[in-house]
Structure formats: structure tokens, C-alpha cells
Amino acid sequence: MRALFANRMRTSFVFLGSLLILFVAWPLLRTVSASSLTMLWQTLLDEEVRRSIGLTFYASFVATAIAFVCGVPLAYLLARTDFPGKRVVEGIIDVPIVVPHSAAGIALLMAFGRRALLGRAFRLLGLKFISALPGIVIAMLFVSLSFLVNAARQGFEGVNPRLERVARTLGASPWRTFWGVSFPLAWRSILSGMILMWARGLSEFGAVVILAYHPMVAPVLLYERFESYGLNYARPIATLMILICLATFVTLRLVGGWRRA
């Protein structure tokens, strides 16, 4: 604590940094404290709100599961091998972080829309993306997969390759080595990547709204209530979302801290 105010420069840094902290914390606190418990409870009793929150959780979970199945192997490759075009692959994984999410929504529409090639192909399988759950899932997947892939990659990079080599000499096939050594050792990173990705998916608005305004995920519902009824009706939903995301975030930090220890 004393180190914070050790000299004048540090004291002024403390002041400047505090402004930013307050800027984030104050609006959140205002929103949460403005809603009474009874109001929150009533919001929770609202069928539409509950369905919407459930849908958001579920869609983000499915997106995370898809990213887990394809992203963990990709992360392993990125951590362990060098290949031509690796930089390009790394770039593609990070692109969703930098493009505007509404633009991502448009891009997905171009590929999965009713008249697009992929859209038509999936339609034969009975999957439609526009104004449907699969659309929400791919929107969430697109904007949040980087978090999982990058975390998993860091996890695998932290595993000493010699452990895998020793496992091979002890008689383990490459698959057994992966499941018996690499995966368990990278698991905490992967798990925190999954939580981060899931939380990021929950809060997605821009990409989702372009592919599927209906059924409404929580951020879209919030927006609609705000547009149609005003602040007082939107606030309890906002509060609920903030509380839920904070809870996941705290869990994430605990998982992370546990990893460091």
C-alpha cells in the first residue's frame, strides 16, 4: 500500500488510474443499486426475460462447445508446430477481435444467408440460420472463438514437450499422450478460455442482431425494451446481465488464480 504513494509521481499516477477505474465501476454500481430486489424478482418472473436469458446461455454454451471441439486441436497445433502460413492462421484467429461485430454479422449473412452457398447447403440438413438459434450460435462463435483458441494455445505452450516425448517412450500413442499428458496439463487454461468465451458470447449484440433479431437473446431484448419502453424497463434486465457476467468473471479469476498457485 505504501509503495503506491512512495513519491509524487506515483501519487499522481494513482489519481489518473483511479479515474479510469471509477469510470468503469461507477455506471455499473449505479445500475445495480438503482434496481430494487423486488424489481429484479419481478423481472425474473417475466416469462419473456427468462426465456431470453435461457436462450442466451444455451446458445453461448453450444458455441463454446463447437469451439472446444475444433479449437483445442487447432490450439495444440499452433503451440507445437511451425508450418508455412502459420502467421496467417494466427491472424485469422484474431480477426474477430478487431472487426466491428455488426460487420461480422453482415459477413456471416453473406455466407450463411438464405441464398448463400453454405446457407443452402445447411438448409438441406434442416439447419437455418436466419432468425433461428443456429444463427445466434454462429454469431457468438465467430466473435468469441479467439478467446478459447488463444487461452488453450497458451496452456499447451506451458506443457514441457519432453513430458510428451517421455510418454511416447513409455508406450503411449500420440492420442494417448494427448489425452493423458498434454490435455490434463493444459486443462486449466482451456477451462478459463472456455469461461471467457462463454461470457463473451453471452454479451454479444451486434453480430447476433443482424442474423437473428428473433428469437431474442438477452442483449437484444434489453435493447428492445429500452427502445420501446424506456430506461426503467430496460434497467432490471441490464442489472441481471451485469450480475450474471460479474459472477462468471469472478469464477474465471478464481480459476486463473488457482492455476498460478
Binding site: 519432453r162 513430458l163 516425448r165 511416447r168 517412450t169 513409455l170 503411449a172 496439463l185
Partner: protein, 362 residues
Amino acid sequence: MKGGRGVEIRSLWVDLEEFRLCDINLDIADGEYFVVLGPTGAGKTVLLETIAGLHQPRRGRILLAGEDVTQAPPERRGIGFVYQDYALFPHLSVAGNIAFGLRLRGMSRGDIEERMAAISRLLGIEHLLHRTPGTLSGGEAQRVALARALVFGPRLLLLDEPLSALDPETREGVQRELGRIHRELGTTTAHVTHDFEEAVALGDRIAVLKEECVGDSKRQGRIVQVGTPEDIFRRPANEFVARFVGVRNIFRGEALSKEGGHTLVSLDGLSIAAVTELEGPVHVSVRPEEIVLSREPLRSSARNAFRGRIVGISDRGPIAYVTVCVPPDFVCMITRRSLEEMELREGMEVHIAFKASAVHVF
């Protein structure tokens, strides 16, 4: 036990990005303790990893007990591997580490328990089985890694600098332990090290690996001499081996009785005093610069004083090496000035002396 077909390596070339091994030919007899000696960076680890199947050679063949395993994946070779940093699985207990290879072989719980008990007894690690690797000392981790590599009965044991990460006290114990385990199990062993005395103490035979530079950024390793420890330091094949091994006094001997804080070690009849806890057959080394040489009998506190005849003088600029036959032959290092002042000549009778603490027993 010895003799027969252990490992045969035929014109092996390994090409990695910045390093390659050139034309490696080695025969390791069944049951032999073979040491690959070379400076850091000469590709010793790469050689072991290639034998284990972790790198695919560009050319050449590797035969294990007569069977060509060049194309076989590591898991089908039945080779035990111990890395310098032990590479214990941090998410498994010591018991889990040791049982890892046995579980993969689909052994019953009873068999696993039995084998684990036997190897733990051999290595004296029964009390560690429930611990996690993170809580082990270097010496303990080393034993666990050895147990894990030996428990499934490998055809060949590969040891990558097994002693270099240990502190000097632990080191001596583990080195003896390696010798004992090899005598008890008779597992064909290839051990790589940069330490000559370690190689002499353990190796039936030694191969010397040399690092060379090719081009700007690429380095390569090749074998420059294979022979018994004696061959290597008495008859180095070339300048590189001679320099790497250095000028040394190394003898085989037997540590006999303790006497007033010293141990008497017999070198073919010559009895010298040393400071050591070891007993039985040992190696002894005395650095040439630790030996005092004079023409008159020495009155010093040194416990070891002998008379001998000069059989060779090698002038190396500011210093000179004088070989004195007691017997055995001791090489002493003196300055050029002393060489001139004492007017030393071959055939001359001289006195040598060195302290008991200057004698390294291993």
C-alpha cells in the same frame, strides 16, 4: 550377459533445423553400459532422442536386438528414457508416474503393484510413492524418473545427462547408484554426459562426440573416437579428444582401510591417502597442477610423497607437463621457469607430493 546384439546404429544422419548428426555408427553390446561423451551442443540429446524414435533420421538404420526399428514409432520400441530435467508428469503422483507405462500395457492391478514394489525397493523410493513430483528433491526425482523408465523392463535405457542437474554431494551417490542398478538389472544403457570422470566411472566404453560448425548457422555432431575409458585418455584419437579430455592422472584402485581421517587407496600396490567415504573398487584422479615436484625429498604437510623417475617432458610454452613413473605414471604440471631452474631431464630421479584432499575418488 555382455556380448550379443544390443544396439546397432548404421550410418545414421539426422537433420534438424539448425543442427545435424553426421554418419553415426555405433555398436552397443547387450548389457553394456555405454557412455556418449561430448561438449554441450554436440547433439547428445538429439542422438538419444533419435534412438528413442522421437526424431526421424534422414538416412541410416537403428537395430535393437537385431530388429530394425528405424521406422517404428517410439511407443513400440520399448526404450526407457530419462531426461536431464527428469520430465516427471506433474499431474500424477510418484506412483502414477511409475505406473504410467505399465497401465498402457494393460497390466492387471496386481501385476502393476508387484512390479512397482520391486522397482521402488531397488531404488529405495518406497516412501515417496504417494508424493507429487513438485515436492521431490533432485536426487529423489532422478530415482523416480529411473524407476518409471525401468519398471516396464526396457530393452535399452537412455540417460540424458542424468547427473548434471544434481548438487555435487547427491551426484556422487546417484552415480554409484546407476552403477549398482546396472549391475543388478543388466539393462543395456546409453548414457550421455559432458563430464569425463562420470564417463570413466560408469562406462564400459565411451564414444566421443564432437561439435563442428558448418556454414553460418548450422552445427553438426560426429563421433570421433570409440573405446574404453583407458583408450580415450591414454590414446586420444586426435587433438579434439586430447583437449576435451585434458591432461589427467586417472587410476583404477581399491579403497581399503580408513586411517586417521584418511582412506588408503591402493593403486596396483602403491598406497595413497585420500579423503572419501567410498569403499571397494574406485577410480582416483589427481589434477596435474596439484602435484608438487622437486629434486630433493619434500618436507611438506602433503600426505602423499613418492620418489620416481622422469619418463617424459612435454613443453607447452609457459607451462610444462612432466611424467614421473613411480609407478604408476603421474603427470605433473610445472611452470617453464621451474623446469629450467631444476634442470629436469628424462631419466632423472625426482620427488613428487600431493595432499590427500587433492585426490578425487569416484
